[in-house]
Amino acid sequence: MTTEQDLRLAMLATIPNLRAFAVSLAGNPTHADDLVQTTLLKGIENLDKFEPGTHMRAWLFTILRNQFFTEMRRKRREVDDPDGTISGSLAVMPAQDARLDFTDMQAALSKLSPDQREILLLIGAEGLSYEEAARITGTNIGTVKSRINRARNRMMEILGLERDDDFGPDRLSRSSMSAHSIV
């Protein structure tokens, strides 16, 4: 028997994933924490609707991404940003030794369309299956597959990477210059 306390514990355990997803999706840590807060509040309000046996993470991710896209559509109408290219500032200042790798990735992600960014995070970073990602995003597996392929190709293009060797630190450092210059 799953108690409300069990569900709250499951929610707590999911917060780091929610924050990482939100920061990467929104590109802004303040906006990300607002999204996570709204998600948690909605989750608690609707705990009775959570189906035992399903994944808390997937359920909360669905709430969060729906909130994000609703806000984005609203904002797009307000600021007339039809391409959805509202770019975020860097979310986190990582330690100096890994700064380039981290900022490369952040900058490259910010240049993907929101749909591509979302699917790359769910599958590439969170490790969800195509089926889970399709359920969360309200699409089908075919859409997920084509979207993830386009997202990966676009990331390689943005980072200026073509071969396995290109993932070395020197190449990544050089590619960061081109990635940042597109911002």
């Binding site: 707590l12 990482a20 948690l40 890994a98 790798d101 990735m105 969170e126 396995d164």
Partner: protein, 47 residues
């Protein structure tokens, strides 16, 4: 479609980035919401 090895390397780089974000400390107010310590989350008693 990208070759498998490139897809794998991109995945590694992405997960590495993501893990750094997950290691960030969770703001206290988010924990308090789930534990039911904030007004909108439930009881208002502090610990």
């Amino acid at each position: 479609m990208l070759p498998r090895d490139l897809t794998d390397r991109l995945g590694e780089a992405l997960r590495s980035y993501y893990l750094r974000l997950m290691d960030e400390p969770v703001p206290d107010h988010l924990i308090r919401i789930v534990r039911g310590l904030d007004a909108k989350g439930g009881a208002q008693d502090d610990d």
